[in-house]
């Protein structure tokens, strides 16, 4: 297995000996024996996450914007230098290939992160444009610094973050290391991500953890990352959607609109780009042909509790995410969709799920029923649809 540029530090801080594999890299599953300690460090103070395993691409050259505006479904021309964008790219049938975050470091340079390899795909789209795509995956380590105290902690090292706006980025120095800091993350909270040269990674880790000492900062692992991203209503590939590239059947595929990202195409009539999937997306918008909607589910706590007490068990409140399908039914016990991510949120004090439902049932407040397993039998528990995200503090964008 590969290691990340922070490995020396993450392995020293890992008290559990548990590791996961992420894109061929060893990453810590959880640092603390009780993962709720690092979870609440993240939610109450600050947490750091090593996200270096992501694929990273540098797209640069005179026509870099032209390439990306043809590949990415969201209009990259609206992303000015010094800004970042959450984006998606589709196949020509409008099905999602992947989502990721793109940083625009200058008028002709972009940095793109993705969960899967995309070098050949991006290069195949270049045509005659003056642009190059470079795989810089191993060149940088990325350290996410997230949580309510992240600004206070990070601004002692890089005062630039004090005024850094949501989805903005800035070059900065942390100690002797030149870094890029973006106000982005995967937690739904105030937070930043630091791109550091691989050689500087451990110095950056040391500086950040020293600045966070006494302020409750702890590293968090992939388990807590998954908990936080569900609360934040953020998508995870292979869990909430499958890439169109490797799907066998269309039922496995999803469009951005079906996944709740129709807002990316609000101004499509004033957007003259030709981009991959545009025709299909226009048709879906015009015909209302979406097959489902991704929504949040609030599980009714009384119903959940009663289902347990009825069989003589105390209600189980397990914060470890269930990231496989749980069927969702209507009152007539017809299957109307499925939940792809489910957990008990210690922060929200209730069970929540991200689910695909028939568009007709997607309106917030619609009552549905979700299947849960109690004493090795399936029970249907009441739930209500809601908008994502579940957790959305004002400080995230303030």
């Amino acid at each position: 297995m590969l290691t990340t540029p922070f490995h020396e530090r993450t392995s020293a801080a890992n008290e559990t000996g548990l590791w996961s594999h992420w894109a061929g890299h060893l990453v810590v599953t959880k640092y603390q024996i009780d993962e709720k300690v690092e979870y609440f460090a993240l939610r109450n103070a600050a947490g750091v996450l090593d996200t270096s395993a992501l694929f990273k691409y540098r797209i640069y050259g005179r026509d870099a914007e032209r390439l990306l505006s043809g590949v990415l479904a969201r209009d990259i021309r609206k992303c000015r230098p010094g800004r970042a964008q959450y984006t998606m790219w589709c196949d020509d049938r409008g099905f999602l290939i992947e989502d990721g975050v793109v940083l625009r470091t200058s008028s002709d340079e972009f940095l793109l992160t993705s969960a899967e390899p995309n070098l050949a795909y991006l290069e195949s789209m270049i045509g005659g444009d003056q642009v190059a795509v470079e795989n810089i995956t191993d060149r940088y380590g990325i350290l996410a610094v997230q949580g309510p105290a992240s600004r206070t902690i990070l601004s002692t090292l890089a005062p630039e973050v004090e005024d850094l706006r949501f989805f903005a980025l800035t070059p900065a120095k942390i100690g002797d290391a030149s870094v890029i800091i973006s106000r982005t993350g995967y937690t739904g909270d105030l937070g930043y991500e630091i791109w550091a040269d691989a050689a500087d990674a451990t110095d950056v880790w040391d500086a950040v953890t020293a600045a966070g000492a006494g302020r409750g900062l702890l590293p968090y692992g992939s388990l807590v990352m998954h908990m936080a991203r569900i609360e934040a209503g953020l998508l995870l590939i292979d869990v909430d959607y499958e890439t169109s590239r490797f799907a066998w059947i269309d039922e496995q595929r999803a469009t951005p609109i079906e996944l709740g990202y129709g807002w990316m195409f609000k101004r499509l009539d004033r957007d003259d780009r030709a981009f991959v999937g545009r025709g299909a997306i226009e048709r879906e918008l015009a015909d209302g042909s979406s097959r489902f909607r991704l929504v949040g589910l609030d599980i009714d706590w009384r119903s959940y509790q009663r289902a347990h007490l009825d069989v003589g068990l105390p209600p189980i409140k397990d914060h470890v995410p269930v990231e496989w399908a749980l069927m969702v039914y209507d009152d007539a016990r017809r299957v109307v969709g499925h939940a792809s991510s489910f957990l008990y949120s210690p922060l929200l004090q209730r069970h929540i799920a991200i689910a695909r439902l028939s568009p007709a049932l997607a309106a917030p407040g619609t009552r549905v029923r979700i299947e849960v397993t109690i004493n090795n039998l399936n029970y249907l528990v009441d739930a209500a649809t809601r908008r994502l995200p579940f957790f959305n503090p004002a400080r995230k964008t303030a």
Partner: protein, 531 residues
């Protein structure tokens, strides 16, 4: 100043039960006013900055027993409810060794086995059986107890339902329940365990807030009660609210206000105004009179029945019961602002053992000896201490690198023989500090500030009679059917429209909220029945 002079309901006392009660009443649509005598709400669940940058939980210091329904019903999370985990218990020993339990079963097993392999295995059996007992009695905790003195069909039905419930229990669970309710902590713990340090740690839950030693009958009940709480579904585990228990009551206040309740502080109530056996409002100490057909006292039973109303209006059996009700202040607190983390030599530079509770009670004998002094009217020379470094759990409690340490101390009897608390307070705190110094060498050098809270302070500041932290001792004749008095255990009083919702009512004592909630449901039911 209240905005109006007339309300549907007035709640006297802005402690956590008063706030819960007011929030439920407001949620039901009643025009509700909550009156608090102090400048801040929270009662015995407050957080105060007594030293610049240091937040002190003056009285109550952790959460577990809070009824989970309340979190949901009152939508507390949207107002900032957040419980931080405290997964460790650290029990120092006289010989410099220790017992540290935490979130991992097998590490706990290995750690306890250092002291006794037998105890290590038995602990899980003990805890499982205890959890079965807890699960069996939880329905009793979350419902209005039957009125033993009533012949109404509804009450008889309640009795039958209770009998059926108890009859349906697993026999081993039922027997264990009786042992807890009637026996001593030592009776139970001696059955299971042989190690002093483990028994000292477990027995501590049997004496908290009570004028009991581990060998006193009745300490089993207190032991069971402290297992009745939960944190995210795990029984008997405790957590720390963001910003302390005061942070919690601030959340409750916001929730109450969001439902439309009005909260007025600095508004001590002189008396409940009655007319023809009915409550018609309250008179504030400054002479302002406010009208309401529902008046709820969140104060303790003595104040509810003897101070807010004229005892001559009450039946003699109730007056006698409340007169004889035991209020036993035995607990005190000493809270410290520290310049750094205390050091326990055997732990080196580790910090994980501070992420929870530090239990100074190396054996049951240690506690029993401490109780001996308390029994005869003096504070313990070697006190039992339940300490928490809250700034380790929530860094916002103290400036970076500094800490606050809450220390709950027993025994500190309300009635001191041949002296008084105003005279003894500093000497008492010195005793506590010396005990900590013994286990954490150099502790005294870290102390930047200390807050001393004697039972007399608890009574004076919060209004809990004799500083009894449970608003009426946890004794079998003062629980369930009998809390606060037989026949008056359903939140009503002999005065029509006058209700009680303090910790002196079922299932009160501790930051439970159940009394406030159940009283509200009684009030709402009575109102609907009258319509």
């Amino acid at each position: 100043m209240p905005k109006r002079t007339s309300y549907d309901a007035i709640v006297i006392g802005g402690g956590h039960n008063g706030l819960v009660n007011g929030a439920y009443l407001a949620k039901e649509g009643l025009d509700t006013l909550i009156l608090e005598k102090r400048q801040l709400v929270g009662g015995a669940a407050i957080t105060e900055e007594l030293h610049p940058g240091f937040q002190f939980t003056t009285f109550s210091y952790a959460l577990s027993l809070l009824r989970p329904d309340i979190i949901q019903d009152l939508d507390l999370v949207s107002h900032g409810f957040m419980i931080l985990p405290m997964p460790y218990s650290f029990a120092p020993m006289e010989n410099g060794d220790y017992l540290l339990t935490g979130p991992d079963r097998y590490l706990n097993h290995r750690e306890i086995a250092r002291h006794s392999a037998r105890d290590a295995e038995r602990l899980e059996e003990y805890e499982h059986l205890q959890d079965m007992v807890v699960q069996a009695v939880k329905p009793l905790m979350d419902s209005i107890p039957p009125n033993l003195y009533s012949k109404e069909p509804e009450e008889l039905a309640r009795m039958v339902a209770l009998g059926r419930h108890l009859g349906s229990l697993d026999h081993a669970v039922l027997h264990e329940l009786v042992r807890f309710l009637t026996g001593s902590a030592a009776d139970i713990l001696d059955d299971y365990f042989e190690t002093d340090i483990l028994k000292g740690l477990l027995a501590s839950s049997g004496i908290i807030g009570s004028n009991l030693g581990p060998r006193s009958q009745g300490s089993g009940l207190v032991l069971l009660y402290h297992r009745m709480g939960e944190y995210d579904g795990l029984f008997g585990t405790w957590g720390f609210h963001k910003g302390g228990t005061g942070g919690f009551t601030q959340v409750l206040a916001k929730a109450a206000e969001a439902f439309g309740a009005e909260i007025v502080t600095d508004a001590p109530v002189a008396e409940v105004v009655t007319s023809n056996g009915k409550a018609t409002g309250v008179m504030l100490e400054d002479g302002i009179e406010l009208d309401a057909s529902i008046v709820v006292s969140a104060l303790d039973p003595r104040r509810t029945f003897f101070e807010l109303v004229d005892r001559r209006e009450l039946p003699t059996d109730l007056v006698d019961s409340v007169e004889r009700m035991k209020f036993t202040g035995t607990a005190a607190k000493v809270n410290f602002a520290l310049d750094g983390l205390p050091r326990y030599p055997a732990m080196g530079d580790r910090e994980d053992h501070f992420r929870g509770f530090i239990n100074i009670a190396p054996s049951m004998d240690y506690i029993e000896h401490a109780f001996d002094e308390g029994k005869y009217g003096w504070y313990s020379a070697n006190p039992y201490i339940d300490a928490t470094l809250q700034s380790v759990v929530d860094p916002d409690m103290a400036p970076p690198g500094k800490h606050v340490m809450s220390c709950f101390v027993q025994y500190a009897p309300y009635h001191l023989r041949e002296s008084d608390w105003d005279t003894e307070r500093d000497r008492f705190a010195d005793t506590v500090q010396a005990t900590l110094e013994r286990f954490f060498p150099g502790f005294g050098d870290l102390v930047l500030h200390r807050e001393i809270v004697t039972p007399l302070d608890i009574e004076r500041t919060v209004g809990l009679t004799q500083g009894d932290i449970f608003a009426g001792a946890f004794l079998a004749p003062q629980m369930y059917f009998f809390r606060p008095a037989p026949g008056w255990n359903q939140y009503r009083t002999p005065i029509d429209g006058y209700y009680q919702c303090g910790s002196g009512t079922h299932p009160g004592g501790g930051v439970v909220g159940g009394p406030g909630k159940l009283a509200a449901s009684q009030i709402i039911n009575d109102r609907r029945a009258a319509e």
